[in-house]
Assembly symmetry: C2
Homo-oligomer: 230 residues x 2
């Protein structure tokens, strides 16, 4: 079998065996050495292939125990999180931005909890509107740790905090959540939609190591959707 020696071929073959139930869910598959012998390649090559399948959620691998076909193949979808400006421009629209509120005050308890901050710690609160071809696209409601270097000097009236952070403050981790929310009168006013309209909401928190950076709530105008390939 020519071409057998690439890890991609081996990964594909393993997928095929899983799909064909040659290796049924929950079953233990042959160990790397056996597969290497079968395919006539080095163990490292098999390792690389199986590692990919494990990352894809098709295999569960445990030292000493062996490699097992995932009983419930938990599928994973990867979304790219673009800067809002890029998101707008990728749709072929012109991006606009308007700062509405910038103030420093203690964050609401919910925000403090999301960021793991002490109560009453004052944060920079920004409320801004992103536009697409002049129409409301998204409301950015952000709480920002004022201890971040450069925040004091940044002009969030001209550059959105969204963009400023990407350029100036790399983060190491965080969380993201998607949900749906009905437009209250304030949101409806800002987004130019009818009160009660179903809006898509993204909530995100980011940290640099242990230091909280920001918590943001993005509320999109009606019709927004986010897509990915599985």
């Amino acid at each position: 079998m020519p071409g057998t020696l690439t890890w991609q071929w081996i990964a594909a073959e393993a997928r095929r065996r899983i799909a064909a139930r040659l290796w049924p869910p929950g079953a233990r598959i042959p160990d790397e050495a056996d597969l290497a012998a079968e395919f006539g390649c080095a163990r490292a090559t098999v390792n690389r292939a199986l590692r990919e399948l494990a990352a894809a959620g098709l295999l569960v691998r445990r030292r000493k125990a062996g490699s097992f076909v995932a009983a419930h193949p938990v599928r994973k979808a990867t979304f790219e999180i673009p800067v809002i400006r890029q998101d707008v421009e990728a749709r072929g629209l012109r991006h606009g931005y308007r700062l509405i509120v910038a103030e420093t005050l203690p964050a609401p308890a919910a925000v403090q909890a999301r960021l793991g901050l002490a109560p009453h710690a004052p944060l920079l609160h920004l409320l801004a509107l992103h536009l697409a071809d002049g129409l409301p696209f998204c409301i950015e409601d952000r709480w920002l740790n004022p201890a971040i270097p450069g925040v004091a000097g940044a002009d969030f009236a001209t550059v959105s905090a969204n963009e400023w952070l990407v350029q100036n403050r790399p983060f190491s981790g965080g969380g993201i959540a998607f949900s749906a929310q009905a437009a209250d009168p304030q949101l409806a006013g800002l987004l130019g939609c009818t009160p009660g309209a179903a809006l898509f909401v993204v909530e995100r928190e980011t940290w640099a190591g242990a230091e909280p950076i920001t918590a943001v709530r993005l509320t999109y105008a009606p019709g927004y959707s986010v897509a990915a390939t599985i």
Copy 2:
């Protein structure tokens, strides 16, 4: 520097240099051989580390050209897509399931387009309600390719198509999209919520190779959200 020789350490060090702007956005970083010399390890180890950073979106790598720090670090979030039953049970609730409609008829044009099917091709249409502790949790509105082996014999009144497919029909790829939608009277009736409530909607299509398997629209009861770590 002890412990320098692991690919995780090198990956972490590279992240640090990117975060510290030692390697600024857009810049070309030293090539693998140079880094291997600097860290005193094999090139393969550096390769492994940089490959991870590229997968995470922090680096862009091009043969002959070199490795570059991503100008706009497109962050990626990975969501796990659970079977609905598991989703319910993970919340500590009891899962219930009720089939509402099962019929074979030509799919609407929108569904045909999503699956890339010929017009008028008859599909199996299933409408079902998932319950959490007896309360409506999610509506599963699914179109299923009747050519899939075993579909004819499956009893979707007792096992949800969602679950049946996971167990019986591995898929190779597909798409997923999240959006928000207001509850129309029918949805409101099924989900036991007020008409106009904001609902979270997941639309998914899956294929096995070139063969379409299913297109499904999951409409969740108010309050549902999906979370992930970045």
